[in-house]
Amino acid sequence: MIEVEQLSKSYGPREAIKGLSFQVEKGEVVGFLGPNGAGKSTTMNILSCIMPASSGTAKICGFDVFEQSLEIRKLIGYLPETPPLYADMVVYDYLAFAARLRNVPLKNTQSAVEQVIEKCSLKEVSERIIGRLSKGYQQRVGIAQALVHNPDILILDEPTIGLDPIQIIEIRKLIQELALSHTIILSSHILPEITQICKRVIIISDGKIAAVDSLEALTTRLRKGERLLLKVRQSSSEILEKLRGVEKVNAVSEEQPGQFTIDCEPNADIQDEIAQLSLNNKWGIVELKPASMTLEDVFLKLTLEENEAQ
């Protein structure tokens, strides 16, 4: 559905993205992950035909983003980083305008707008002026705008930015619903979001792809060792030392008083040993559990490794 090859873009001397290549299949939900300024928005701008790439090709449904951009623009719905809202327009009129811009015939415009208002739960604000809405509603109008012509492909640049937790959950649900019938690319620097919505993640760092994989694969690939969490009632440097003395333990650190993370070799199976140790020394064990690496750790590890390599 979407094929990107060796895509590069420079703004003057600064290279925003350097030779990106990836594919997105029909019906997939792919997350772009990366720190601010990594090139996520630039890539999305190129895919939605707003700016041409400096080199490389990007094809959507077989159409080239540069040569046949008009065809592509019929297929995509795009929510830029800043939602493109006319502050002085009424929500309903704005959505009707967006629908007309995207070639929705005049006679279908009303039903298209009403559907999208329903989908994004904008009913109670549909007659209000956009500039007076809260940030959350504005963001939803932005999403509605990308959906109004029912495109095959949705490109959403940080769709949940500026929303409160309840709204985030709603938008997430909406995106999950949309994922059933659309191909979606979304970007974020908020990790839990990507974890919950996307099946595949493309991690971009400094204009290059750091990793492309499914979430599970990424987490397991990066778990070069195992990690245990130990919580005890006491806290002293003696505990730290004793823990470090255990066989197969690579590193121990005290996160908070009485809370230790223990990194050990893969398949070390040292829980018994540690439990015994704490019982013998009367540390007052509260909790001992394996800690899996969150995407957050994966992300940090990947992007930091990248920087160290340079």
Binding site: N45, M51, P83, L85, Y86, A98
Partner: protein, 255 residues
């Protein structure tokens, strides 16, 4: 065509929703009305004197003495007003990032520019139409020649088209409305007075400068004459301005 109208309709909506349009129209109508009143007053005084001295106002002409100066003055006021109408066209879209919506829609850049041009022209046309009560009044109480009045309005509209296309060009250069207004005002004024350079330069260049001036081409229209050279001048001026706008917007995508 359809897409152009969609854009134009949206722009017209925001014109009529904003106080800018209403304040501009009010100022335009007041200034225009005041000038019209004074010109008419002067004319009636003259004809009154002529009547006393020569027994009849022969040689006094409503077209030459009222319509022509009114049109001239309207051209000056439009020079001040139109940059304020066109300044937001692209600057505002860029500032509020709404341009991305237009650019990611299946619509040609040419259609966007044409739509915005159309919207500005409709607004200007509406303002001129509102001020036409003075013409109507003169038609009622006097017997002016209608030909020069119609061509006068045509000339004013074409000249406004030039202002608008320069204004759109200025607006495409920046995302700041004030800078856009300043640039388009400067450009329009320069194109107005460029003919003054004719005296200082030689005959060849002088003629060229004279020809380039916006105001010299209005004269024939005010006299009731539609000459092809004036028409070509105004239309190519408008086209050139819109062409530059297109180039600027297209190249800004590449940066």
């Amino acid at each position: 065509m359809k897409n152009m109208w969609i854009i134009a309709k949206k722009d017209l909506g925001s014109f009529f929703n904003s106080p800018v349009f209403y304040s501009l129209t009010t100022v335009f109508l007041i200034l225009n009305g005041f000038i019209f009143f004074n010109i008419l007053n002067f004319f009636s005084l003259q004809s009154f004197q002529a009547q006393q001295m020569r027994g009849g106002g022969a040689g006094l002409n409503l077209n030459e003495m009222v319509f022509e100066p009114s049109f001239h003055n309207m051209a000056v006021i439009l020079l001040l007003v139109i940059p304020l109408i066109t300044m937001r066209s692209f600057a505002e879209e860029k500032k509020s990032k709404t341009f991305a919506l237009l650019l990611s829609s299946p619509i040609h850049l040419v259609e966007i520019i044409a739509g915005k041009f159309l919207a500005c022209m409709i607004v200007v046309g509406l303002m001129i139409l509102l001020s036409a009560y003075s013409t109507g009044y003169l038609m009622l109480i006097g017997q002016p020649e209608t030909g020069p009045v119609i061509t006068g309005y045509l000339g004013i509209l074409l000249m406004s088209g030039c202002y608008v296309s320069m204004g759109l060009f200025a607006s495409s250069l920046t995302d700041n409305q004030i800078i856009a207004a300043v640039i388009s005002f400067g450009l329009a004024l320069f194109m107005w007075i460029i003919g003054w350079g004719a005296q200082a330069s030689g005959s060849g260049l002088g003629q060229l400068l004279e020809y380039l001036s916006l105001i010299t081409h209005l004269e024939h229209f005010l006299k009731g004459l539609i000459s092809s050279s004036d028409l070509v001048y105004y239309l190519s001026f408008i086209f050139f301005g819109l062409f530059l706008t297109h180039r600027v917007l297209e190249s800004s995508r590449w940066r």
